[in-house]
């Protein structure tokens, strides 16, 4: 799967590319509007990560060019601006998502996965990994043929870990992902342990071999292989 990263901050672009490559995405990194316009003209991408403030112009022009050419590449805007106006403009121009800096790479990865799932026409909403089958349309999880009855938070947590499989996901990232808008209001991560415990219990009851590892209080890692 091909991803174009349009980000003028090299260090950030590289981190994103490196993180995503572990997920068998092919990443291309460009740092200015001009090159970005050339790339989108010649190639199709599954998802484009677009920084709005580029050295040679506004990233939204890239988005506009893309939509003017009737291209259906998924676009996630990554921006330092989080005003409601900025969001609305971006989404009205046809962006699929809007992520404000600073963000967790695991969150970005989850959003990319969601955008790609949504844009895929072939109705393959089934994600199979680590011995689990997740139907992202119906929001159900099976271990082999055995369904596991998860709550909304548990399902979100599992999907988050699955999309970021084989990588350590920090507890901050999980907390923010699970609390949505209320992110960052609490410094207490104990509630993650509770969710994690219940999730593991339910999956193990359905016959799963536990592959979620706590990594020294830093975060969690789901080992798929």
């Amino acid at each position: 799967m091909k991803i174009l990263i349009i980000e003028d901050e090299k260090a950030l672009g590289q981190s994103i590319a490196e993180y995503l490559q572990a997920e068998s995405y092919t990443c291309e990194l460009v740092a200015d509007k001009h090159t970005a316009l050339q790339r989108i003209e010649s190639f199709d991408y599954d998802c484009i990560l677009l920084d709005i403030s580029l050295p040679d112009g506004n990233g939204l022009q890239v988005l506009k060019a893309l939509r003017d050419n009737n291209k259906t590449d998924g676009v996630i805007i990554i921006s330092a601006r989080d005003g409601i106006d900025d969001r609305i403009t971006g989404l009205q121009l046809g962006a699929d998502d809007y992520l404000v800096k600073p963000f967790h790479l695991s969150e970005l990865s989850a959003r990319i996965a969601a955008v790609i799932r949504r844009r895929r026409f072939s109705g393959s909403s089934i994600l199979e990994a680590a011995g689990l089958t997740v139907d992202t349309a119906a929001r159900t999880v099976r271990v082999g043929q055995q369904p596991a009855d998860l709550t909304r938070s548990e399902y979100d947590l599992l999907l988050y870990l699955l999309t970021n499989r084989n990588r350590v996901v920090s507890k901050h990232a999980i907390a923010e992902h699970l609390s949505g808008d209320g992110e960052g209001l609490f410094d207490n991560y104990d509630f993650i342990y509770a969710h994690m415990k219940n999730l593991k219990k339910k999956l193990i009851q359905a016959g799963w071999t536990d592959r979620i590892k706590a990594v020294y209080g830093m975060g969690y890692k789901l080992e798929a292989s």
């Binding site: 330092a80 600073p102 967790h104 509770a194």
Partner: protein, 411 residues
């Protein structure tokens, strides 16, 4: 004391002193003039009488000529000296000794003072009335004139009092024809404009700084996550990374809070809708359920009033979110959280530290009140700014071991 009254006070005392001094002085001067007048007319009468009396000398035996009222002629022992003038009870008396046919006569001419006294009295009264009228008229004119002249000053004062440095436009004062006031207005306008400019640039700086910080923060956070993926990873390294991640998380949150504050101050939440405080609070409480369960808090809700307000739904969520999460975060295990809505007032109370918070400091930026080193110190400032924006009043109370925050939304 008002400047007007101060000057008027001096005028008033001056008038009183003037009246007190002027009226007696006037009285005495008038009396002297009248008496010297009477004296002159007495002497004149005498001079007129003397030729008639001389007749008695030329024709001895002639009876005394008839004399007018108030003139007496009596024989008297010889007296040295000339005429004398003095005042008796009601008269002015001229006594003169004449020698007629070797006999000494005392001639007395008297003139009644009563009429003159009455005249003086009337003149004095008239004069006093006139003076009093004149003075009070002057005072009145002075006062109304001063009031009109000082009007621009009071207008300036009123505008200055209402002026806030975060008002959208510059301070504009009414022009004044009086040089001093015009100069004052110019100076005040310049001062206000300078403060406004420095406020604006400071605000802009805060906003730009917060925005500029975001990219390096994103780089930092990204690299940390990449660091987490490295292997082998020792526990020591993992602990270091976790601490860095905590710090980075706090930086990101502070940054977000600062930007939110600037945005509220900039009035960048213009969209309003009628929203229910009750529904929003219920929604947030459901969202915070994991944290509430974690601390085993007992939540009590009491809604006598749904509290419908017209404001930005986003800001209402921020307002309630900050108050509720504070009430959860600073609570004790198995504590209590009370949410009450009644009479246009929302009250959020919680158990917590067993002593009241310093009321004057808690709404200030970065005022930390707990051992919780991670409290970001911006939450209540944001609450207050939102309340300011919509004219709500927010109050803190410590009652029956409960910390209460009251937001008076409608009165």
């Amino acid at each position: 004391m008002k400047l007007l009254n101060k000057t008027l006070q001096y005028y008033f005392w001056l008038s009183i002193v003037l009246l007190m001094v002027a009226i007696p002085v006037f009285y005495f001067v008038l009396q002297r003039i009248v008496i010297s007048n009477i004296d002159a007319s007495l002497v004149a009468s005498k001079t007129e009488l003397i030729p008639r009396l001389r007749v008695m000398e030329i024709h001895p035996g002639t009876p005394q000529p008839r004399l007018e009222d108030g003139v007496t002629l009596e024989k008297a022992p010889p007296q040295p000296g000339g005429d004398s003038l003095y005042t008796t009870d009601k008269y002015r008396l001229l006594t003169s000794y004449l020698v007629i046919n070797q006999e000494t006569y005392r001639l007395q001419i008297k003139s009644s003072l009563a009429d003159h006294q009455r005249l003086i009295g009337s003149i004095i009264i008239l004069q006093s009335v006139l003076l009093i009228l004149l003075l009070s008229g002057l005072l009145l004119i002075n006062q109304s004139l001063a009031r009109r002249i000082w009007k621009p000053f009071y207008q300036t004062l009123r505008k200055l009092r209402a002026y806030k440095v975060d008002d959208p436009g510059p301070l504009q004062l009414a022009p004044s024809g009086i040089t001093e006031f015009a100069e004052l207005n110019t100076a005040v306008e310049q001062l206000a404009e300078r403060s406004r400019q420095s406020y604006l640039s400071q605000k802009e700086f805060a906003e730009n700084a917060s925005h500029e910080l975001r990219t390096p923060l994103a780089v930092f956070q990204g690299k940390l996550e990449m660091l987490m993926q490295t292997s082998p990873l020792s526990e020591q390294q993992a602990t270091l990374i976790t601490e860095l991640a905590d710090a980075s998380h706090r930086m990101a949150r502070l940054n977000k809070g600062l930007l939110l504050l600037t945005r509220i101050q900039n009035g960048q939440f213009p969209e309003t809708a009628e929203v229910s405080v009750r529904d929003t609070a219920k929604h947030l409480l459901a969202q915070y359920e994991p944290q509430i369960a974690q601390q085993q808090l007992r939540v009590e809700e009491d809604w006598l009033d749904e509290l419908k307000v017209t404001m930005s739904p986003n800001l209402l969520e921020v307002l309630l979110g900050n108050l509720l999460s504070n009430a959860i975060r600073h609570n004790v295990a198995e504590g209590k959280l009370v949410v009450k809505g009644a009479n246009g007032t929302l009250t959020i109370s919680n158990t917590g530290q067993p002593y009241p918070l310093p009321e004057e400091r808690i709404f200030q930026r970065f005022a930390k009140n707990s051992k919780d080193a991670e409290s970001m110190g911006l939450g209540l400032e944001i609450v207050r700014k939102i309340c300011d924006l919509y004219g709500f009043e927010v109050k803190y109370r410590w009652e029956n071991t409960l910390h209460s925050f009251q937001v008076i939304m409608k009165s």
